[in-house]
């Protein structure tokens, strides 16, 4: 046995990686499998999970239901599909707003004198020291003053506010890495400030925008706190749906199915996105 271990590089590799692998299995794979198994189960009247293999939860999520008002056959209700679409839509809009609002700030910080840069970054990060939920609560008073509370716009404002630092930081990193002599070279070659920005700054900062998009889009898809507190009960996202199934409705099987669908949708959007733009790494040399 020891002899084989000494000779086989792959066996050594496996052994060295095993602590990390065990960690991954215990903390990621097993819980995920539990959710998958639960999503195919059924709920008994007390809210316990009966482990069967049925697609009922998924079918229900797609809007098809056996208990119709008239009591015959199946009928269609688009409620859950609307929730899913709303979640994707909100995540997209939030991402776009964080890019549009975050970019000028990231640009400003990146072009500030080196000494002031750290101070500005610090100011961007300071709000994160306060608890997420408390920051959302703080918005209640502000939004109420503008008579916006419990509207979809309020949820958008909250989301953008919560996640904009995660967009600014990678964009800043990209912008800060651009050699200032490139701006001078562009100016020297006849490009005005606007054209320098469009031809040089923007393309070179895209990796940061891509990385920021990944960091904002994915968590926004799953968050329920912001919509819960600022949207009232009317503005339901997948996150809220899942949370309510586990806590209020006591139907973990349906909640698990919604979680799997959320994960699947996020994966699909991200695969399409990264196929097109990559993961936000350096400019790819081909």
């Amino acid at each position: 046995m020891l002899q084989r271990l000494r000779e086989s590089k792959s066996l050594q590799g496996t052994l060295l990686a095993s602590p990390a692998m065990l960690w991954m299995i215990a903390l990621l794979i097993v819980p995920l499998l539990l959710i998958v198994i639960t999503s195919f189960g059924q709920r008994d009247p007390d809210g316990n999970v009966i482990y069967t293999f049925t697609f009922d939860n998924y079918i229900r999520l797609m809007g098809f239901s056996a208990d119709c008002p008239d009591g015959v056959g199946t009928c269609f209700n688009s409620l859950y599909l609307e929730i899913l679409a709303r979640s994707v839509g909100l995540a997209l809009v939030t991402t776009i707003f964080t890019i549009v609002l975050g970019y000028p700030l990231a640009y400003y910080v990146a072009r500030a004198p080196a000494k002031r840069r750290n101070m500005l970054l610090f100011l961007i990060l300071v709000p994160l020291w306060t608890n997420f939920v408390i920051r959302v609560y703080a918005w209640i008073r502000i939004l109420r003053a503008f008579e916006m509370l419990y509207t979809p716009q309020a949820v958008l404002v909250g989301m953008v506010y919560e996640f904009i630092p995660f967009m600014i930081l990678p964009m800043y990193t990209s912008l800060e890495k651009i050699d200032p002599s490139l701006y001078e070279a562009a100016a020297d070659l006849g490009a005005s400030s606007l054209r320098t920005f469009l031809k040089v700054t923007l393309p070179l900062s895209l990796p940061g925008v891509v990385a920021g998009t990944l960091l904002v889009f994915v968590p926004v898809m799953g968050t329920f706190v912001v919509s819960d507190i600022l949207g009232g009960k009317q503005f339901v996202l997948v996150g809220n749906l899942i949370q309510r199934q586990f806590l209020d409705a006591r139907d973990p099987t349906f909640g698990a199915a919604a979680s799997i669908v959320l994960m699947g949708m996020t994966l699909i959007v991200m695969i399409i996105y990264t196929r097109k733009f990559g993961f936000g790494e350096e400019v790819v040399i081909t």
Partner: protein, 370 residues
């Protein structure tokens, strides 16, 4: 009379000094300079002398605190870089990493709105001018330092600027490549006939390529002249010291007549050329180049500057032998003798302690005011 391509009129550039709050530091201090059309002109000096700042003011990246920059007689004022008839080759090359070579070179033409049909042949021509055809579709990072240098050159030259500004463009290359590029740059400049303004801290580079050189130190322009002028007739100690190697002998000026000075140093009576600002009776410095001092066994009779000295050091380095010879307890000279014959004077190259005659012609030395 040749036309003037670039003129600096009493230009001052001050920067706020971060350590001393509010106090300004003059990177360029009252510089007057005229650069002729079609000239290869070098700004030479140690780092921090103001040469790069001067270049950046011509390019328009910095604006003078006072004074005026003129390009072909036109005052530039606050004209932004993209409206000036000059192009720059940057020290770091500053190639756009996300663009191919062809896009990099075409950038300036696209910005100026040159017709598409005209851009391609001009880019091709520029790339072949810098001997870099066949790399059009690569990205800058796929090229070596020397090749990137050529792309930077092509990117600037393709715009046919009135003046090309080069900011230590060969600094990042290794010695052999640098020497090659020096000659190539000189040839290229002659071919295109554009005025080149070249910033460097390397005196040999400046001497090799330039028609004229301006030596700068601490923001001041010290001397402008051809390689010959600044090497043979330095107007101050800094220039004599910075360009090449020089022996400095401190002493007193005894008399000055017709540009010749009689000079006394530690009991030695010397005769040398004198700069215009040298007056009888003042403390001054005699500068004499190591290769101009001769060694001989007999007293030479063609010069008043002949003294007995003792060799304290003799180092054979192949092409030359370097000597250190003491003339008096306080006056010692470094002397360089070319080994044109196989150790012609073994006694001289021999052990330290030998006595020899040390001599030089009056026109080989200069008396400078500090």
């Amino acid at each position: 009379m040749t036309a003037i391509a670039v003129e600096l009129k009493d230009v001052v550039k001050e920067f706020a000094e971060p350590e001393k709050k509010g106090e300004a530091f003059a990177a360029v201090n009252h510089v007057d300079l005229q650069i002729n059309d079609g000239e290869f002109f070098s700004l030479l000096g140690p780092s921090g002398c103001g040469k790069t700042t001067s270049l950046r003011m011509i390019a328009g990246f910095e604006l003078p605190t006072s004074g005026e920059v003129l390009i072909h007689g036109k005052a530039m004022g606050k004209t932004p870089p993209y409206q000036r008839p000059v192009n720059t080759v940057f020290q770091s090359y500053a190639l756009f990493p996300h663009m191919t070579i062809i896009d990099n070179v075409a950038f300036g033409l696209q910005m100026k709105g040159v017709a598409k049909a005209e851009i391609e042949p001009r880019v091709k021509e520029a790339l072949s001018m810098v001997r870099l055809p066949g790399y059009e579709n690569r990205k800058p990072k796929q090229l070596s330092g020397g090749q990137q240098q050529r792309v930077a050159l092509a990117r600037a030259l393709v715009n046919r600027p009135e003046v090309l500004l080069l900011d230590e463009p060969l600094g990042a290359l290794d010695l052999k490549l640098r020497k090659e590029m020096q000659l190539e740059l000189k040839t290229l400049q002659r071919e295109v006939g554009i005025t080149f303004i070249y910033v460097t801290h390397d005196q040999e580079e400046a001497l090799t390529m330039s028609d004229r050189i301006a030596v700068m130190s601490k923001g001041h322009l010290l001397q402008v002249g051809t390689a010959l002028e600044i090497y043979e007739e330095p107007n101050c100690r800094f220039v004599a010291d910075f360009i090449g190697e020089t022996n400095f002998v401190p002493g007193t000026v005894v008399s000055v007549e017709d540009g010749r000075a009689e000079f006394e140093a530690d009991g030695l009576r010397l005769v040398a050329n004198a700069n215009a600002d040298v007056r009888a009776g003042i403390q001054a410095t005699l500068a004499v180049r190591p290769e101009r001092v001769r060694l001989s066994a007999e007293k030479p009779d063609d010069t008043p500057n002949a003294f007995i000295g003792s060799v304290s050091e003799a180092i054979y380095i192949g092409t030359d032998t370097h000597f250190r010879v003491n003339l008096t307890p306080s006056v010692s000279l470094r002397i360089r003798r070319q080994n044109t014959v196989p150790i012609g004077m073994p006694a001289l190259a021999g052990p330290a302690g030998n006595t020899v005659w040390v001599s030089w012609h009056p026109e080989s030395a200069r008396v400078l005011v500090e």
